[in-house]
Structure formats: structure tokens, C-alpha cells
């Protein structure tokens, strides 16, 4: 929890507007594992909106809040499309250079993603037995407080299943196995279409990322990065090089700060890297003396200083690091 507070403080030092975003936490090199949260985070980065990101992990909000949720001056906005509209009204617009036709194309492709790709994503993460048991449920259980960890994953899974069945299954046969083949083939086709549309460009409309890029990123990034035990859709996506490249470009250019800070924040049992252990030690030191926070911020933000620090500490014995890590 102290690490959480530190994280917020680091992000607050450079912020002017107190817009607060509630979303699920990050893992697997991503700022968030939740598609809708990723869409909003990506758009905020593209449009230059400064958001105070507050993760709902380990709070009661895992069951009460509908994520993502934006708080600003007393008003609350949910749902990615609404949040993006709100940000545009606040003059954070990543789409102002688009022509009218490109704006129309954006709407069309977002509809394509929602209809064709989203059911298969929901299935891969929440309905497929192997993935759910080995990846999704443990992750969400470990990121929810007791006793909610018994309810949260199950509730999300049943919502996902009912959404797939109600929208895709033919009404006389409400059976998930009949629908599986159909939704995966539609999803693969959708990924192929996106790949054709992207071609060799960096982003979907030229050189600057727009809201469509945010939506596509939000949908495909978890699929690329999550360590899924059984992922036929993931295999298919990995064959589409330009989409993987697109995702990695966005992560590298817009999210490297966030992923570096998240690595500071993760639980001790997960880190076996001596570099992360060093960062953990450092954060504990800073907790004791608050005037070191400004110095830490400067050191970490300028990466050329950061790298030699890593190389210096790497050769040191991991055993001693582990023993000093309290």
C-alpha cells in the first residue's frame, strides 16, 4: 500500500489537472490488464491528458465500481466511448487532424472490433477452461481483497459467458461449444482485416495515433502479452507481424515510464530479478525520509542515469540482496 502511495505521488508531481481514473492494475508489461482501461489509458497518452491513475486492485471497488471510471470535479464518467468524448470536450483531442471520412471509418472499425473481436477475447480469457483456471482467475483473485476474491472472477466470467451467448448464439441452441468455432473464425477474420488496413504504417491514420489506435491497442495488447496456456487466437495474432509491431511501438513510445514504475510496485514474491529487489530496497528507504522523494523522481525520470545504476548492481550477489530485502 505504501508503494501504491509512492506511485501516485510520482505521477502527481508532473500533473496540473486533477482528473482521476480508476482502472484495473497492470501486469505482463502492460499498464492495465483490462481492455477498456487500456483504451482510456492509451487515449490519454495520445492526447496528452494528464490522468491520476488509481488502480482498484485490493480495494472494495473491484466489485462495486464499473471500470474504467473517470472522476473530474465531482462528475463521474464510465465506459470508454463516454470517457473519450469527455476528454475531447476537455480539449484533449487526438482526432482533430482526421478528415470527416476518417472519423466515419473510426466509428466503423470500432464497431467491427466490438462485434467480431470482443466475443472471442472474452471467451479466451474468461470462458476457456484452461486459460480461466490457470491465468485469469488466479490473477483476479490475487488482485482482489478478501473475501471478494471468491466472487469477483466468477461474476466476471458469468457476465462474459452470458454476453457471448446472448449476442452470438442462435436462440434454440444456447450452447457455448456451437458458438466457439464461429466466434474464433470471426475474430481471426477481424484480425486479418485490421492487419490489411494497417499495412506498413505505424498507426491507422498516418503518423499520429488516434482514438482508433487506442481501441485496437486496448483489444490486442492483452492478447499479445498475456501468458495464455491455450491461445489459438494468440498464435494467430502473433503471425500478424504488423499488429504485434504496432502494439510494441505504442508500449515503447508511450508506456515505458509506466511499466518501469509498475515493476517497482509489484509484490516481493514475484520478483527474482536482483535489479527489482534493489528498487524495492530504495522505495523502502524513501518511505522513511520524505525529502528524498524529489531526488528519486529526478533520478528515475532521466533514463541514461538509470541504466548505469542497473548495470552496476547486477553483478552483485543475489543472495545478499534477498537477505536484506525485508
Amino acid at each position: 500500500m505504501l508503494e501504491d502511495g509512492l506511485l501516485l505521488l510520482f505521477m502527481h508531481t508532473n500533473m496540473a489537472e486533477p482528473m482521476e481514473l480508476l482502472c484495473w492494475g497492470g501486469d505482463w508489461d502492460l499498464p492495465s490488464v483490462h481492455t477498456d482501461s487500456l483504451i482510456v489509458l492509451a487515449y490519454a497518452k495520445f492526447s496528452g491528458a494528464a490522468l491520476a491513475v488509481k488502480s482498484i486492485d485490493w480495494t472494495w471497488r473491484t466489485i462495486t465500481a464499473s471500470v474504467p471510471q473517470l472522476h473530474f470535479e465531482g462528475s463521474t464518467v464510465t465506459e470508454p466511448t463516454q470517457i473519450l468524448n469527455f476528454l475531447r470536450k476537455q480539449r484533449f483531442n487526438a482526432d482533430y487532424e482526421l478528415t470527416a471520412k476518417q472519423g466515419a471509418d473510426t466509428m466503423a472499425y470500432i464497431a467491427l472490433l466490438e462485434e467480431k473481436l470482443r466475443p472471442a477475447l472474452l471467451h479466451t480469457f474468461w470462458v476457456d477452461a484452461e486459460n480461466y483456471a490457470n491465468l485469469t482467475r488466479p490473477w483476479f483473485t490475487s488482485h482482489s481483497p478478501f473475501p471478494l476474491n471468491f466472487f469477483v472472477p466468477g461474476r466476471q466470467a458469468s457476465l462474459a459467458l452470458s454476453r457471448i451467448l446472448l449476442t452470438k448464439a442462435e436462440s434454440p441452441l444456447l450452447n457455448i461449444t456451437e458458438v466457439e468455432g464461429k466466434i474464433y473464425s470471426e475474430a481471426k477474420e477481424c484480425l486479418n482485416l485490421l492487419s490489411h488496413r494497417l499495412g506498413n504504417f505505424h498507426f491507422f491514420f498516418g503518423d499520429r495515433p488516434t482514438s482508433l489506435d487506442a481501441f485496437v491497442f486496448g483489444h490486442i495488447a492483452p492478447l499479445i502479452k498475456a501468458p495464455l496456456p491455450s491461445g489459438q487466437l494468440q498464435k494467430h495474432l502473433n503471425q500478424l507481424d504488423n499488429l504485434c509491431q504496432f502494439c510494441n511501438t505504442i508500449l515503447k513510445n508511450y508506456f515505458t515510464d509506466a511499466s518501469a514504475e509498475k515493476r517497482m510496485d509489484c509484490s516481493p514474491t514475484a520478483t527474482h530479478d536482483p535489479v527489482d529487489a534493489n528498487l524495492q530496497k530504495l522505495t523502502q528507504l524513501v518511505n522513511k525520509e520524505s525529502n528524498l522523494i524529489e531526488k528519486m523522481d529526478d533520478n528515475l525520470r532521466s533514463s541514461p542515469q538509470h541504466r548505469p545504476h542497473r548495470h552496476d548492481t547486477k553483478p552483485s550477489a543475489p543472495a545478499s540482496e534477498n537477505s536484506t530485502r525485508a
Binding site: L112, S171, G181, K182
Partner: protein, 263 residues
Amino acid sequence: MSLAAEAFVSQIAAAEPWPEKATLYQPLKEDQILLSDSASSLAVQTFLRMCGLPVQVSCCANAEYMSPSGKVPFIHVGNQVVSELGPIVQFIKAKGHSLSDGLDDVQRAEMKAYMELVNNMLLTAELYIQWCDDYTATEISRPRYSSPYSWPLNHILAYQKQWEVRRKMNAIGWSGKSLEQVYEDVSQCCQALSQRLGTQPYFFNKQPTELDALVFGHLFTILTTQLTNDELAEKVKSYTNLLSFCHRIDQTYFKEDKGSRSV
């Protein structure tokens, strides 16, 4: 149907030419059919006319239950039954007729994206207005849907259908929307379509495709169906190029029925 069965069926389909007596089934036109079903049916009919394939339209009260997927319209060709525009387009492609062969990959991606936009926004909005808006549901949808049946079956079926649609709206997150928001969504969808169409005769310049058939089906039905208020039609009418698009397709493909239709 599993993917292997579908592939098998389409191979069989490819072997036979289009028969004389192909039939399209939809609910009763005057009394029973609702806005969304009428739009889907008109889209399929337009597509078949664009391909130059003759089909007889047959109106049955139980069309929905005859359909293999539970949705109308469906076509009965030879000894196969195919429902909904997407599978019908693929079926007809297997028979060697296609409207979108001339498109390259990027254009095909765009076409599919716009078709999903129409399905996602327009069709869902039509279903919402019919079944989730209490006034319309009570005055129009429930009486019409259950008109061929006697009491108490008419009440049971109507409420069952309403419950199903409301469940679906709940699952996709539309149940929290107000009617004004739905009209606003329709307006945005029409704006996107209007901007994409521009001044061209069809969405992909000179040749009509299944996207044109789908858009025509929905827009024409919205313009010509009498609901409790005219707000939906007004939203569409504010885009003049869409109006002339509908008029043009009506003139080109439905001219023999010209006497019975008017925009």
C-alpha cells in the same frame, strides 16, 4: 453449424445453379412484421436483386420459428435453408455470384467494418426502440408481433420476445441508455454513413455491394415505417445524400413495384 459442416454445405451449394423457385420467408407484411425484421428482409431482397437472382417473397406467421437461426429473413434454395444477410452473402458467393469481388483487401475490410457499424448501431437501436421503449412496445410491437395468435398465446409470446430482447440489451450495455441517447447514436451512425458515401452513387463508387443493400434496407424501412413518433425518420432525413441514395436504389431495383412504394 460447425465449420466443417459449413464448408461441406457450401461445396454442395456451389455445385447447383440458382433454381427458379427460390423463396424468401418473412413474417406477415401487413400485420406482423416489425421494423427490425422488415429492414433485414429488405436488405436481403435488395442484395438478391443486385445480384440479378430472382426470388419469391413468402409471408408466413411462423417464419421466425422456421428459420435455422431463429432470425428472419431466411431463403429456401434447392434443399438448403440459409438465414441472415451474412451467411446468405457467403452462400451466394459459393454459387459464383458476388458483388464485392472487385474490391481490394483494404476496401473489403472497410466494407465489413461499415456493415458491422450498421448492425451494431442501427439494428440495435431499432430493437431498442421497438422493445425497450415502453410506449412503443405497448402500442406497436407487442400487438403486431402477436397478431396471428389467439389468447393467451399472444401475450405469452409477446412478453417472451420482449424479455429476450431486454436481456440482450442488458448484456451489451444498452439498457442504461435513454431514448434520446439512442436517437443520438442513430444520428451519429447516419452521419458516419453520409460522410463515407459523400457524393458517390454507391459506397464503393460505381458498383453496389452488400453494404449498399444493407444500408438501403435499414434506411428505407426507417423512412417508410410509421412509429409512435417521427423522430427516427427525421434523424435520417437530415442527411440529403442518404435520402437520394435510397431513392436511387429504389428506382433502380424496385421499379416494377414503384406504384406501391413511396419515400
